[in-house]
């Protein structure tokens, strides 16, 4: 029986070069690493989603609920972009991890992305519901001085007793950063806009539609009102607008005094007396 020359050549090379199969554990570890990467990416993505939901829904004004949905510019700018970036990066890593699993290539990229985003979303909502997002946000703020989200700044702003809320139309003055706020028949207020003090960028409608009503939130300085937030009236829901009106008209409900958290305790049950032995 004759054998093919190629067979002899290959077997000779295997023998002469001492080529041996790569051990099985190497492939097992490699596969496990891809699954692990997918799992970790999913967890990071879920945590980022939970933090996004936390910032959107639990902020001082409940931006997700309050700001008009079809004008999402404000709430998009109000979330920490780091978490949005984390969702994107973790999704990419998760998709790659899934794609490299033994049968992952059978799914198109869009399906893998959808699977990843759905799982991250579901897990993220669960984590948010469990309070993990708030815990993580608090921990990050406590450990990192760099971490201060717009949402958190808004929350601090809403707690500041010196903060005032004004409403009216803004008209430009010769100085491009100084505006005049005219509210109804009342006196006009000079607004000194310092872009680096604003929590979110100046709305584009400020100059394009000067007759639009604006909500200006900030503090009164020596000569000028210094805004921290300027929002077009039509970007606010009626509910949020009414809450802000309370402040504008000085009818903001007084705060409740801080009371320590008292966990609900059930009354102690008294154990029934042990039966006495019958004598």
């Amino acid at each position: 029986m004759t054998t093919s020359p190629l067979r002899d050549q290959i077997l000779h090379r295997i023998e002469s070069e001492s080529v041996s199969p790569i051990p099985r554990w190497h492939f097992t570890v490699k596969r496990a690493a891809y699954w692990l990467m997918f799992g970790l990416a999913l967890l990071v993505g879920a945590q980022a989603v939970s933090l996004l939901i936390f910032h959107l829904s639990d902020g001082p004004f409940g931006l997700l609920r309050e700001v008009t949905f079809f004008r999402p510019g404000l709430w998009l700018r109000s979330i920490p972009l780091i978490w949005l970036g984390a969702v994107v990066v973790s999704t990419l890593l998760g998709v790659w991890g899934l794609h490299t699993t033994p049968r992952g290539y059978r799914f198109p990229w869009w399906q893998l992305t959808l699977i990843n985003l759905t799982l991250s979303g579901l897990l993220g909502v669960t984590l948010w519901g469990m309070g993990v997002a708030q815990w993580a946000d608090d921990r990050l703020e406590a450990t990192s001085s760099q971490y201060q989200s717009v949402s958190r700044q808004l929350r601090q702003l809403s707690r500041d007793r010196d903060v005032q809320v004004l409403e009216g139309t803004l008209t430009e003055s010769p100085d491009p950063t100084v505006f005049s706020l005219q509210s109804g028949t009342g006196p006009s207020v000079t607004i000194d806009i310092q872009p680096d003090q604003l929590l979110v960028p100046l709305p584009s409608t400020l100059r394009s539609s000067p007759d639009d009503s604006m909500i200006v939130i900030g503090t009164m300085g020596e000569n000028y009102f210094q805004p921290r937030l300027i929002i077009p009236r039509d970007q606010l829901s009626d509910r949020l607008y009414q809450r802000l009106r309370h402040r504008i008209e000085g009818r903001f409900p007084p705060r409740r005094p801080n009371t320590p958290h008292r966990p609900h305790r059930k009354p102690k049950k008294t154990l029934p007396a042990s039966p006495q032995p019958l004598n």
């Binding site: 190629l6 290959i10 090379r13 041996s20 199969p21 790569i22 190497h26 492939f27 033994p102 198109p108």
Partner: protein
């Protein structure tokens, strides 16, 4: 005692298991897939026969090194095609880096004979047709060309090609559709089925 001719041929899985115990048992696997893989290399690349044989040898060495990765989820044949394709891609990239480009030698054109070549009036026509098909195939991007070769020359299903090219079956269908659309104007005069 039964005669050797009556004994059933060992399956690929059995041969792989035997090869992991004894390297000499890898020989039957080489003989079994030597020709299909050589044809695949020649049809999906522009290399000479000698270069194709080198690639084939590299492919079998890779198969040998990765033998423990074969877990039976794919057939050995499809798995071998997949590794061979990876060797082709690596060689192609290396050649691009070096700026080399090897063309196929004339005798290899017979590998592109079409299934109905026996109906053609003369061998000259067969060679001419093969030449035309080969030139047309060279105009295709590598992925389209490999999908076309695997489907029409190796008679593999979309699902099997999906396993070899590691792309979704839907993408394989798209690749084949595009490849045929590209080839149609060039091969219309051949009256291919």
């Amino acid at each position: 005692m039964s005669s050797p001719s009556a004994s059933p041929k060992p399956t690929d899985d059995q041969l792989v298991a035997a090869a992991l115990r004894d390297a000499a048992a890898f020989g039957p696997l080489i003989e079994r897939y030597e020709q299909p893989l050589l044809h695949f290399i020649l049809r999906s690349t522009d290399v000479t026969l000698e270069a194709a044989q080198d690639l084939l040898q590299e492919s079998f060495l890779k198969i040998w090194r990765y033998l423990n990765a074969f877990d039976g989820t794919l057939s050995f044949k499809n798995w071998a095609y997949r590794l061979t394709r990876q060797v082709i891609i690596s060689a192609h990239r290396a050649a691009q880096t070096r700026g080399q480009h090897q063309t196929v030698s004339v005798p290899d054109l017979s590998l592109f004979d079409l299934p109905d070549s026996t109906d053609l009036p003369s061998q000259t026509d067969t060679t001419a047709r093969a030449q035309t098909v080969r030139q047309a195939l060279q105009t295709l991007p590598p992925a389209q060309r490999q999908a076309l070769v695997l489907h029409y020359f190796e008679n593999l299903s979309y699902s099997e090609i999906s396993d070899i090219l590691q792309r979704p079956p839907g993408t394989i269908a798209t690749l084949l559709h595009r490849a045929k659309a590209t080839l149609r104007p060039q091969l219309t005069h051949l009256q291919l089925p």
